[in-house]
């Protein structure tokens, strides 16, 4: 019982969460977190085991062995993996990469196999097989084959083009060259011939061909600078450094050629920043880490040449391991569409079964007594009915639209191109157009309910400028002159006295310059000296000008500021830093650097001045530094206590253009915007006001406020029947009284507290205690289940509460929490979410949301790489959603509705006809017409509408954001709309059949010949059908371009053209049994009464549509109708 209480007690036992700290670091991936969770154990145990492990000669997971200059070593039998039955292959991949899927031989079988994984294609293949069975074949073989081939062909061509590009790319990369040691000398070799264990030489600006261990380089201490833009998009240089021993002994060709070290390391994996291994050489072992590894895809910079040992080659390299499968996102409409196709399939089976029963009955009543129907087979009526079931499955198969999926793909592809081409989403400053990286999600852009936005770099520019500083209690940075008098209008500080100034810094406080130059306060100089020395910025000179490359924009801003104020960072070697201090160059010995990371949130450096003094400089986040000023820490941080505070900096990051306008516009479109940021609460709140997410009349709720609200609600729910009362009516009451503008600002720690996240970690610890009895185990699972239910309820309540607020800002949240928040809304609101961000810390949420948008900004390409859409400025989001998203949604909905309609109108004519032909699966059209209807006669206009239609112009959709709501509420395509479309199709098919029926039952031709023959009847219906569906799409198209007009009339003309050809005398003489309708078109369409029938049919089909549309527009005008009327 005690355990249960333990896990059930909730809020009271914990102290208040700390708003200032980020709850936990999640540099680790998810599995690592899981690993840790399950292996949490008493501290003592772990220490013991680590000690044991250290005693073992090498650790278990280091199973990857690489021997330098020994190719045979890697071909040993115990490195072989069994691939197929008996073919063995070395586990070491060679360096040739293969990103292509097919070659000349495998293209057709493999591509077909891929395509037939789709259920729609399989369905048509099954149909094709059914058609090959003579007893049940009711349609000519080509009716399904031709459209299927076309659909497969279009997809195959697309795949082929993609694959040819990949082939070219692979070939180009595999044939790049570098120098490899062979037979004791460096020889030029192609990349594809490099193998694990080879020693290679790379020159400046070379791409690294494989993951290699850096052995030595031309630089002192074998430093090597690399640019990792291809890996993570970061353009600043990073340096790698070899082991001392390899640096010492492996500089010359001959020593490299005789190098015989053995590297043992972990198996290939995709962790770019992790590597553990050991080098065994000369009977000593040397530990290896990621700092000594150059990864494939990097570029060597600022280093004349370097030598390395290939560790992972080709497919084993980290970059290749990373380019794994991306998660396949699908849209709401995709799911809906699939269910609809299943619905249609059920309808098809039911209709076929009904007609089969009809046929069995008819055979028993009529067919058996009709001497002329004798067919030599001795089948019972019920068996004939059974055969006819399959016959009707074949005849009615066109109800399931074969070209639906391929058309949807074409439309989406087109819409993606429109996004790529949009000049109004092109950012000239950076030459960045918008890019739809995923082509399958466009219409979902028109259905967004929630936007989750990062702050830095997304709402702001992420261009940091040094604004103010506070040194020794004195604040600098206001507009004032050298004698501390404030002026409103004062010219910028002139930095010309400083030869290293870049002239780009706008600073107005002349007093600070005065202070620096006079040197009255030593802290001022110390302060800028710290900024110039304590960093990891790289420097190079372009045309004699200093050029800094910083890992983060704020670090760059600080170093740059120091440079402008006279403390220019000039050069860095492994052990020294050279700085020009107001003109005098001084070189400092660097004794240690403790680099910045998101856990420590500070960096420190220990330097020895030329005079021999040793100093420690530290800079970091205010909270961390502030802590260290007073507190004594017994552990690691020993060196960092007893620090003196030099000063504080203020850096400005401006909002991007148009952010407030975009946010208010999106808010008017009923899109809720949540800002998720790692910043502190105050910053986040300020930004909230700056971008008008929060206004003066907004009531702001904080974590503690909502905690009590949620707590009360939880108690309430428990009293009402506990968390198990799932079948009780859902609580509709609100957390806040209606009306009023509310915003929620919550920190990561509160989020964890409220969502009971911490509790799960504890329960994992409990799990480790092995349950002794069955009873105990049962109780434990029960309490676990209860806890989960409770957690779920709490999460749901939180989401409900948060959604009542007009704005939500989560600050101090980790990347993992960002993803969690997105996931919560996704799960409990069933709403479409969009996440937008620019940095690596947004990748999680971008991948979690239905749609991820990456801003290609200052922080590299990682967010963009994992996003579905990318562009350069936040303000483009309104155009992406309100214009492209909305259009795509409306187009797709119209397209789908029409597509289902046109296939029902087409196919169900067979159904009505079956009542007049003994349910014998006789078709109402010519086989060729059935073959080409979906492919040629009715496909192009609807495709063009799906690509080009606009109900209102882009300007109006931006001016009236309320138009966006149709998509959010699924108003244009849902089950109701679907059934209305089907009903429309059914009614159209009835009109198409019964009006010609009435006309044919009695009448005769004007010259008495061939009255009411089957072939003329088929031509009459087909003509009426083609004209009707093409005019119908004309009515559905709201944006008539000449292309639309051309395609509509073109389709009709094409129909008549092809029909007259297929009914011509010449083709009949050549293929008498394939083209059987000879002369029908010319003879039937000569008759005025057939034309009159067609005209009447078309009119009766379309007039009600016009009337209904007009009336619904007059009586219940939609938003866009209203807008158009203005």
């Amino acid at each position: 019982m005690s355990t249960e209480r333990d896990s059930e007690t909730t809020f009271d036992e914990d102290s208040q969460p700390n708003d200032e700290v980020v709850p936990y670091s999640d540099d680790e991936t998810e599995d690592e977190l899981d690993d840790q969770g399950s292996t949490v154990e008493p501290e003592q145990n772990r220490v013991n085991r680590e000690a044991e492990e250290n005693q073992e000669p090498f650790r278990k997971e280091c199973t990857w062995q690489v021997k330098a200059n020994d190719r045979k070593y890697h071909g040993q039998p115990h490195f072989m993996n069994t691939k197929f039955f008996c073919i063995k292959k070395s586990k070491y991949a060679n360096n040739a990469i293969k990103t292509y899927k097919y070659n000349a031989l495998t293209f057709i079988p493999m591509n077909l196999f891929e395509q037939f994984k789709r259920s729609a294609n399989i369905y048509f293949l099954v149909l094709l097989i059914l058609q090959a069975i003579p007893q049940i074949s009711t349609l000519a073989w080509y009716t399904t084959l031709v459209p299927l081939l076309l659909v497969l062909g279009v997809t195959a061509i697309k795949d082929l083009v993609d694959d040819v590009a990949r082939h070219k790319m692979d070939k180009e990369i595999n044939n790049r060259t570098c120098e490899v040691i062979k037979d004791g000398r460096f020889k030029v070799a192609k990349w594809k011939d490099i193998q694990v264990g080879d020693v290679i030489r790379l020159k400046k600006n070379d791409f690294v061909p494989a993951d290699i261990l850096l052995l030595s380089s031309s630089e002192p201490n074998s430093l090597c600078y690399v640019e990792t833009a291809e890996l993570d998009g970061e353009t600043n240089l990073k340096f790698k450094m070899s082991l001392e021993i390899t640096d010492q002994y492996l500089q010359r060709e001959d020593t490299l050629a005789t190098f015989d070290g053995l590297v043992e390391c972990e198996e290939p994996n995709n962790r770019l920043d992790k590597f553990t291994g050991t080098l065994f050489w000369r009977n000593t072992s040397f530990p290896l880490d990621a700092d000594k590894i150059l990864l494939r895809g990097c570029v060597i910079r600022n280093t004349d040449f370097c030598h390395g040992l290939v560790i992972f080659a080709g497919a084993d390299t980290k970059i290749m391991k990373n380019s794994g499968k991306t998660r396949f996102k699908r849209t709401k409409i995709d799911y809906l569409m699939n269910y609809m196709v299943y619905t249609i399939f059920v309808v098809l089976s039911l209709l076929s079964a009904g007609l089969a029963i009809g046929h069995a009955y008819w055979e028993a009543q009529v067919g058996n007594y009709s001497w002329y129907l004798y067919d030599g087979e001795d089948f019972t009526p019920s068996y004939r009915g059974f055969l006819n079931f399959w016959g009707y499955i074949i005849v009615l198969n066109t109800m399931v639209p074969i070209s639906l999926y391929v058309s949807v793909e074409v439309i989406r592809l087109g819409q993606s191109h429109f996004i790529n081409w949009d000049l109004q989403m092109y950012y000239a400053e950076k030459d960045t157009p918008a890019k739809a990286r995923t082509t399958t999600l466009n219409e979902q852009l028109g259905q967004i309910h929630y936007i989750f936005s990062d702050k830095t770099g997304t709402l702001t520019q992420n261009i940091m400028t040094f604004k103010k500083c506070c040194i020794n209690g004195q604040i600098y940075g206001d507009h004032r002159d050298a004698s501390q008098h404030n002026h409103n209008k004062i010219e910028q500080v002139d930095f010309s006295w400083n030869t290293y100034a870049d002239g780009k810094l706008a600073f107005y406080d002349h007093y600070l310059i005065e202070q620096i130059q006079s040197g009255k306060e030593p802290e001022v100089r110390q302060f800028f000296f710290l900024l110039a020395v304590c960093h990891t910025v790289m420097v190079d000179r372009i045309d004699g000008q200093l050029n800094y490359q910083a890992a983060s924009p704020d670090e760059g801003a600080l170093v740059n500021a120091a440079r402008n104020f006279g403390f220019a960072f000039l050069a860095r070697t492994q052990n020294t830093i050279t700085i020009s201090e107001l003109g005098t160059e001084r070189t400092y010995n660097v004794l240690a650097i403790l680099d910045f990371n998101s856990d420590r949130k500070r960096m420190s450096i220990i330097v020895r001045t030329p005079e021999g003094n040793i100093r420690l400089y530290c800079k970091g986040a205010d909270t961390v530094i502030y802590e260290r000023l007073h507190r004594m820490n017994p552990t690691k941080q020993e060196t960092q206590d007893a620090l003196d505070l030099l000063g504080a900096t203020a850096i400005e990051d401006k909002l991007q253009d148009g952010v407030p306008e975009t946010i208010s516009k999106l808010a008017k479109a009923d899109i809720k915007i949540w800002v998720l940021t790692g910043d502190k609460k105050e910053t986040a709140e300020n930004i909230g006001f700056a971008c008008e997410l929060l206004t003066e009349d907004t009531t702001i709720c904080y974590g503690e406020d909502i905690n009590s609200l949620l707590h009360a609600r939880m108690e309430n729910q428990r009293n009402r029947g506990g968390v198990y009362a799932k079948f009780a009516p859902p609580v509709q009451e609100r957390f806040f009284p209606p009306g009023g503008n509310r915003a929620l600002i919550i920190t990561g720690s509160w989020l964890n507290e409220i969502l009971l996240e911490k509790k799960t970690k504890r329960s994992k610890i409990l799990k480790l205690k092995f349950p002794r009895t069955e009873e105990e185990r049962r109780m434990r699972t029960q309490s676990k289940r209860r806890l989960e239910a409770k957690k779920e309820q709490q999460q749901k309540n939180f989401v409900d509460l948060a959604c009542e607020c007009s704005a939500v800002i989560c600050c101090r949240v980790t990347p993992k929490q960002k993803a969690m928040v997105v996931d919560l809304v996704k799960r409990y609101k069933k709403a479409i979410t969009l996440a937008i961000g620019d940095g690596a810390n947004d990748v999680n949420m971008i991948k979690t949301a239905h749609i991820g948008v990456g801003i290609s900004g200052q922080e590299g390409m990682q967010a963009v790489m994992s996003s579905d859409y990318s562009f350069a400025q936040f303000r483009y989001l309104q155009r992406l959603l309100l214009v492209h998203g909305r259009w795509s949604y409306i187009r797709m909905c119209k397209f789908l509705r029409y597509f289902f309609y046109k296939n029902f109108a087409f196919t169900l004519v067979h159904f009505w006809y079956s009542f007049f032909n003994g349910y014998s699966a006789q078709t109402a059209y010519e086989d060729w017409f059935i073959t080409l209807y979906n492919v040629l006669y009715s496909s192009l206009p609807v495709l063009l509408m799906g690509l080009l239609d606009q109900d209102v112009s882009d300007k109006l959709s931006l001016r009236f954001p309320g138009l966006y709501i149709v998509g959010q509420r699924d108003l244009l395509f849902n089950y109701k709309r679907f059934f209305v479309s089907l009903l429309h199709g059914v009614l159209t098919s009835m009109i198409l059949f019964f009006i010609p029926l009435g006309a044919y039952l009695q009448t005769v031709g004007q010259d008495g010949e061939a009255p009411s023959d089957y072939q003329s009847f088929a031509v009459t219906i087909a003509s009426a059908l083609v004209i009707t569906v093409n005019f119908q799409i004309g009515l559905d198209t709201s944006y008539w371009t000449f292309v639309n007009a051309f395609s509509i009339f073109g389709s009709i003309a094409l129909y008549f053209g092809i029909m007259f050809d297929f009914h011509s005398a010449g083709i009949h003489v050549l293929f008498p049994s394939i083209f059987q309708f000879t002369g029908t078109a010319s003879n039937a369409l000569r008759q005025p009464y057939i034309w009159l029938t067609i005209i009447l049919t078309v009119a009766v089909c379309l007039l009600p549509v016009v009337a209904i549309r007009f009336l619904s527009m007059t009586i219940w005008p939609s938003e866009s109708d209203k807008v158009y009327r203005i």
């Binding site: 009529v366 067919g367 007594y369 009709s370 001497w371 002329y372 129907l373 004798y374 067919d375 087979e377 081409w421 000049l423 092109y426 000239a428 400053e429 030459d431 259009w887 007049f916 032909n917 014998s920 006789q922 080009l948 606009q950 029926l997 006309a999 039952l1001 009695q1002 009448t1003 005769v1004 004007q1006 008495g1008 010949e1009 061939a1010 009255p1011 009411s1012 023959d1013 089957y1014 003329s1016 009847f1017 709201s1038 371009t1041 292309v1043 009949h1068 003489v1069 008498p1072 049994s1073 059987q1076 000879t1078 002369g1079 005025p1088 009447l1096 009119a1099 007039l1103 016009v1106 009337a1107 007009f1110 009336l1111 007059t1114 009586i1115 158009y1124």
Partner: protein
């Protein structure tokens, strides 16, 4: 950054109307004026068309005589297949009250005969009928080969079940004088059927060409004996055969049997008076509840005396007009309401 030189913008999208989705276009909008205009004009068109069609259908004359029950004894005889060689004739007198002016056409009409049944429709060989290869019988199951494995010509179920009653129309001028009304057996088919789809192998000697083949089991004589007098009406080119081979759309259908040859007495059409059909009854229909009629009809530009199209047009026109008035009413009331709303 206006000074950014143009050539640097290497990824600048094209500024074309298509790519910027600014193609010149007409926005389709259902204004009251347009919709009502369309409805009124369509209504007028349909009403006029309907009246014209009804009037012209009423101007034709048609006589239909169902002879299934009248010739009941013959029907009874044909129910038993073993009586196939016994001839049975039947004479049906009728009185034509008014004369039938102009061209008169004679049809036979079958009720409940499913010529559109799937397996029946397919049972024919177009390759054989086009005259290139008379032994091509692949699609003709179950009438491909006779029992002694010779190909059937013409093969297939359609050909085998060809209508084989002979109908002769006689004009009884008085109780003793009876003249046969001259009927043309040509021009009953589409030109394309007679000259493209159906061709004899060669015109010299048909019997030779069809050597090695068998007649269909139901036929009394082979294909080359259908019309010995007129070679252009013999073999596959026989008009009755071609007419029969053009399958009907519905189980009730009529097929053209002959045209009045307007000579001598019948130069203006059929005069009023007593007539009789003399029918040689061969075609059995009673087993499957079918019926047979013979029809005499005159025609106009829009076909026979079917009232359906005329009525359908009239009804459509009337409804369209009603609908347009209703829409106008709704439009005006709502517009007034809106106006008053705005004035408030």
């Amino acid at each position: 950054m206006e000074e950014t030189p143009q050539h640097c913008l290497s990824r600048l999208p094209d500024n074309s109307a298509l790519k910027q989705q600014e193609l010149p276009a007409h926005r389709l909008y259902f204004t009251a004026r347009r919709v009502l205009f369309v409805f009124f004009t369509t209504g007028i068109f349909c009403l006029c068309m309907g009246i014209i069609l009804i009037l012209s259908a009423r101007s034709t004359q048609e006589i239909e005589i169902n002879y299934t029950r009248i010739c009941a004894n013959c029907a009874k005889l044909r129910e038993n297949a073993s009586n196939f060689d016994k001839e049975c004739t039947c004479s049906i007198p009728f009185y034509l009250s008014g004369k039938m002016m102009g061209n008169v056409y004679m049809y036979y009409k079958l009720y409940g005969f499913y010529q559109n049944l799937y397996r029946y429709v397919r049972s024919r060989s177009n390759r054989q009928l086009v005259g290139k290869d008379v032994k091509a019988v692949e699609d003709c199951a179950p009438f491909k080969m006779s029992d002694n494995k010779t190909p059937i010509v013409p093969c297939g179920a359609i050909a085998n079940s060809m209508f084989n009653d002979t109908i002769i129309l006689s004009h009884n001028i008085n109780s003793s004088v009876q003249i046969k009304v001259p009927m043309l057996k040509s021009g009953l088919t589409w030109w394309t059927d007679k000259y493209v789809k159906f061709q004899n192998p060669s015109s010299k000697n048909l019997a030779d060409e069809f050597r090695g083949t068998t007649k269909p089991p139901n036929w009394p004589k082979p294909i080359y004996d259908l019309d010995k007098k007129d070679p252009r009406n013999n073999g596959f080119l026989n008009d009755d055969f071609i007419v029969w081979m053009r399958a009907a759309a519905f189980p009730t259908f009529k097929k053209l049997y002959g045209r009045l040859n307007r000579t001598h007495h019948f130069i203006e059409g059929l005069p009023a008076g007593n007539y009789s059909f003399n029918i040689t009854y061969n075609f059995p229909v009673t087993r499957f509840q079918g019926e047979k009629s013979v029809v005499l009809s005159t025609l106009t530009w829009c076909g026979g005396n079917s009232l359906f199209l005329g009525l359908a047009y009239t009804v459509t026109g009337a409804i369209t007009w009603l609908a347009s008035f209703a829409m106008m009413a709704i439009h005006i009331t709502l517009k007034n309401k809106q106006m008053s709303f705005f004035h408030q």
